[in-house]
Symmetry: C2
Subunit: 337 residues, 2 copies
């Protein structure tokens, strides 16, 4: 990115669907430089009225379930049917490993050269929160550019799935059958965020095992979820490599969204996501500001020393930090520490 | 608890090891009432110089691995050997279910009537953060009362394990073998916090499966951890019901702590825990204070409306909240949102 960021030119290029300009716009929203952040927000305010029109779908599964192959095939099916498909990724581990695993174009060989697809790997710097913010803002860019399907890929471990579930309309969890009825990578918690589950690699000799696993998982979910849920999470089988069953998976995702739209749950979910995201940014900003506060910085070494010497409880030390940062007005809040 | 909290009497009773007073002191630290929090901190400041002497051990495992039976047996073994054993618990789900599952005395039948044991169920109100704070502060109480082993029980799901790992010296993960080499409840992430792993219920006809599972898990861990780690996580087998193998598990926990003491890692870990805990309290207090701020409360409805209407980005709304809360001095922090 050059020194000068020309926001109107970025707006124009993004709205025209210019892929190079989209890439530049995303590089801008990924930057943590204060002046870039200013320009990025100006850009996003201009793009927001044009965003929001895509189906936003999270796709997760542990390494080895065939995510890239699945997305490659689903993506070309969708573009063949007339959609424009963007693939984004949230992979906080890429910051540590120095390279992005998710959203790797070489692993989505056909989609990578599809003129109606736009693939962007995970931002490779920052915390999960930072990576997620960049991906959310990138979503505004691709939607404003006219992409009507956004697939957000993440790994099936830890907090990143919950973070992605917070930015999409529907969440697809991919798994595979191992031996007999064993399932790979299903863990508690996933059932709370998955809207559709697909047992992948269900072709050839493994098909029977996959179907059996899907049936058992389906019964287990019915048992766990109880009755009266507005949506019964379907467990399907599919094969990303051959494309078998992908249309059914897609149909279920669409059905999930259409049902939610009809009931009002769709809009409600998006609204709640926007509000929670805003508060998350407030918390991140407070933390940053606290660490930079001169009075806090000056007092902290001594407070930590007293805590470590057992002269002060952590709660009392925390109270003093709060009073330095926001004054005695802290009142009630600090007194309940 | 009566209206008046007599802190000096609580200090005296706790230091004398009076179990009723200990229970009252813990009820005080569990209370969220502002005046109780004041008294609780006064109490803790007095107790702190007498605390810190126990082995603090976290014990986790999904429901069904036999945690209660294991703790019951380990506890009576330890008291028979001259220790005083406290059992605390962190179970944020107890707040929802209305009753505590962990630390249930009826499930630790022998330890519950052991005069050298003190069992306290998980606090049943509040967030994970609140429950964890109460448990940390209860630990100060039991240590000051002369208990030299503190077992902190938690469930093998989600964030609570990481939270407990943050307040103990060693972390024991209990699991069981299922069919052949399958293990119940081992998930990614646990290997980062477990210091000792035990495959429980390894008696009778299941013993061979359990030993096989332990061997394979052990190889897997060696593969994942790589060389050069200061501590090779041992994977043992045991049977809580018969008591078989519990002395080896305990010996490994003691060895883990003694090695860490010799290298200085033990003190370093405790110090780092205290500091991180302090900052966590600061964050919790800030959040509370922010939500109570009159200017913020007044502005939020309109800001949320603008975000929902797509007229404002979440980042710009967050900046405005920050400026209301801590003034334009926010500067740098807000500008990087």
């Amino acid at each position: 990115m050059g020194r000068e960021v020309d926001v109107p030119a970025l707006v124009e290029g993004v709205l025209a669907g210019d892929r190079r300009v989209m890439a530049r716009a995303i590089t801008l929203v990924e930057s943590r430089r204060a002046d870039h952040r200013e320009r990025a927000q100006e850009l996003l305010v201009e793009l927001l009225p044009h965003a929001g029109g895509a189906r936003r779908i999270g796709i997760s599964g542990v390494p080895g379930v065939g995510k890239s192959t699945f997305i490659d095939q689903l993506g070309v099916d969708l573009t063949a049917a007339g959609s424009k498909v963007a693939v984004l990724a949230v992979d906080p581990s890429s910051a540590r490993s120095g390279g992005s695993i998710l959203g790797d174009k070489t692993r989505m060989a056909r989609l990578a050269v599809d003129p109606d697809a736009f693939i962007r790997p995970s931002p490779t710097s920052g915390t999960l929160g930072g990576v997620a913010q960049a991906t959310r803002e990138s979503m505004v860019v691709v939607e404003a550019a006219g992409y009507d399907v956004v697939l957000v890929e993440t790994v099936g471990v830890g907090q990143s799935e919950i973070t992605v579930a917070e930015m999409v309309d529907s969440f697809l969890f991919l798994t595979i059958a191992r031996t007999g009825d064993q399932l790979q990578g299903i863990k508690r918690g996933i059932l709370e965020i998955a809207d559709v589950i697909a047992v992948n690699k269900a072709d050839g000799p493994a098909a029977a095992d996959a179907r059996k696993a899907a049936r058992e998982l389906s019964s287990a979910i019915r048992m766990l979820r109880g009755r009266g849920e507005p949506w019964d999470v379907p467990v399907l089988t599919c094969a990303g490599l051959s494309g078998e069953g992908l249309d059914e998976v897609w149909a279920k995702l669409v059905e999930h969204q259409e049902r939610a739209k009809a009931s009002g749950a769709f809009d409600e979910r998006r609204r709640a996501q926007q509000v929670r995201w805003t508060w998350q940014l407030v918390r991140d900003g407070l933390e940053h500001s606290l660490r930079a506060h001169p009075g806090v910085r000056a007092a902290v070494p001594d407070l930590e020393k007293q805590v470590l010497a057992g002269e002060l409880t952590p709660a009392l030390a925390a109270r003093q930090v709060l009073e330095l940062f926001i004054g005695p007005a802290t009142g009630e809040a600090a007194r309940t520490l």
